[in-house]
Symmetry: C2
Subunit: 467 residues, 2 copies
Amino acid sequence: MPLLERLAEILEPSDLLTAAGDTAPYLTDWRKLYHGEALAVVRPRSTEQVSRVVALAAEAGVSIVPQGGNTGLAGAATPRSNGNNLVLSLERMNKIRALDAANYTITVEAGCILQQVQEAATQADRHFPLSLAAEGSCRIGGNLSTNAGGIAVLRYGNMRDLTLGLEVVLPDGRIWNGLRALRKDSAGYDLKHLFIGAEGTLGVITAAVLKLFPRPRERASAFVAVASLDAALALLGRMRAASGDGLTSFEMIPRVALEKAIAHVPGSFDPFPDPHDAYLLIEMTSSRENSGITAVAEEALAAAMEDGLVREATIAQNETQAAALWFLREAVVEAQRAVGASIKHDVVVPLSAVPAFIREATAAVEAAVPGIVVYAFGHLGDGNVHFNLLQPPGMKPEAFLAEMGRLNRLVHDVSARHHGSISAEHGLGQLRNKEVRLYKPAIEFELMERIKLAIDPKGIMNPGKVL
Amino acid sequence: MPLLERLAEILEPSDLLTAAGDTAPYLTDWRKLYHGEALAVVRPRSTEQVSRVVALAAEAGVSIVPQGGNTGLAGAATPRSNGNNLVLSLERMNKIRALDAANYTITVEAGCILQQVQEAATQADRHFPLSLAAEGSCRIGGNLSTNAGGIAVLRYGNMRDLTLGLEVVLPDGRIWNGLRALRKDSAGYDLKHLFIGAEGTLGVITAAVLKLFPRPRERASAFVAVASLDAALALLGRMRAASGDGLTSFEMIPRVALEKAIAHVPGSFDPFPDPHDAYLLIEMTSSRENSGITAVAEEALAAAMEDGLVREATIAQNETQAAALWFLREAVVEAQRAVGASIKHDVVVPLSAVPAFIREATAAVEAAVPGIVVYAFGHLGDGNVHFNLLQPPGMKPEAFLAEMGRLNRLVHDVSARHHGSISAEHGLGQLRNKEVRLYKPAIEFELMERIKLAIDPKGIMNPGKVL
């Protein structure tokens, strides 16, 4: 029996999409950089259904492309164009299976939207700290598969660090139930770490046990103009120590990004009368009531100002002011779209190398494309720089985008000199999977390929991605 | 040329031990439970030497048994008795290669003693938080290979969570340099997590990049008598929140353990006039000066006393008093040796299941061996119970130890009912590698075996351990 007929036997009609109008949204990524083809889009409702779908596809020699909220930035969830694929959307598996407040854990299905998990935690007086721009639509399976990062990694770690257990449908359709909710476990190889960050190339993650934390009750948000990026690094150490390691976010915003936000995103504003080269959005949180955290932030910033690290600083006095500062951080991302073509990089280097990386990469791209606008913002607290490049004013977008390969090479060569990585939190997908071979030792890909062959000998799972 | 002659060409004479008197300490574990044989003990001084030793051994079909401080509790570092092994001690590779204070990282060789790493961090005004009883003699390579835990996991995580990068000699002698010092990295499968916790069965870890933290400047240590273990769990949540998640240790000590310590370990004392069933040693730390952390602890404990969770509490008023409380925690471990034969378990269950686990496991073993003494202490903050059993007074040690298999089964069956693991932080080695098959799904071992075959196809690395 043909595959589609067999799938029709196990799925509701509305969970098996084949009409072009129905499948179209699943066949391209949200930036519309990639377009693929698929025999069908399937939307199973249970782990058992995923298991049966994968088994049937494996038998038929059809590839599986797992998809979550389809908000990825590296094309990992878009199928190849040869069409011999099934897109397996996890969106109908969106149940929170359990929440154990005393164990500080939540067990969720892969199709849960990140924000849904955050809210469930809050309702139980707990905190799920992963936070990123797409949190209203990205799904946990995608967060796991790309090892998502975001704005609170400095304190809480990446998605990988937030995960205690997984349930995975393997490439032959069998289910591995590794949904352990344990803080310690040294009983054999830690298989969950293979599937996290594998972008669906080793199996389909269907559920996970995630860590929760005490709910933050107070926060101090500050917008700070720093004397230099080196000064920002010194400030980071002071703020970590002063806050009792309660520093949650330490975001870097260059002057050009603040200017573009003010020019293009209504509601943006300059917090200070004079311009400065570099700004930080800093946030400390505490789960303690009457924590005095705002006073701590004030004191630390005042001392840093006296010592010449900080030029100006403003601390939010209430939630409205804090929200306004975070609005600026989001406007910086938003504003890029208004200024024409951009070329994005998701670089990470050791914190101590961030100033040199930005300096050297800026010099390299400015020499290559005169008039190019370097728009380098990101998560200074963990060394992750979104080193984005905007087209020179007046240049044709196509002409600028034609430089992408050369500019990627220049930027990533500098990050390599500083022992960085070309994908901090977006994954490799089909965007960086070839390029990355220039920057990691060959032996590493050999090991990855051996593992791929060991777990997915038929090469069913998301071919053409990562490897 | 025979293997030993070829080894003699690349190693100093003092780094190639073959005389029985020289090799003996390397051929048994420190509890003297296991004894093995080896062609030689090699002590290479560099990654290159490790690489050459492993390549020669692989060519000769001789197995490699990596060994660190030889303080393991599961026999993973003791060779098999067939003798076709080399013990590869990392003890001569004990250099701290780099410390990057701004990046909060330290790069160390596998033979560094844990305490040496702690001290190097402190000297740079940083903190390396892994802490366990053997810290004065255990080595980083062993900590990595067993994914060591200890007394600060609640706040800082296990060794796995503290590791950013690894250098590994693979089973064919090639070197994988994965010494990345990055807080985020989503560029392919995360290979380091395969080698961490693999107990030397996939390769020889020769160096690692570890995370550092702000140095704690103040601590509040409290000894607390709780109304019950359920009350202790409720207190855990309160103390985490009240401390701004600065709770570092939350150790559980039963009455029987305190009594044995007082009876057998000079310097032990009862902090309270009346006896109580269950005690906690709680520690909060802060990197902030004038953190008010002692007042926070006092307030939280006073409220918990009012609410009936806490019966009595004493908070150390200075470092001497804090050290005296921690001495009690160590005396609890020490005292076991004075009371005859003991059977140890390193169980972990979800925190919420700890009270039921202890209740049910206690009932099971008391029914099986009348008069048995349950000595269940450990890291309540992360669900890790050292559920140790002491022989009934008057029973012959050999008669008691003959019950080990039956008692293991009873205890581990209860932990399995509560979705626990039979090895929280000690690893499997040769102590639990067969037993664990009763408690994890077969598909998990199939995956582990496929990975083993993919990475170590000749089966050179530490055979007979883990798998």
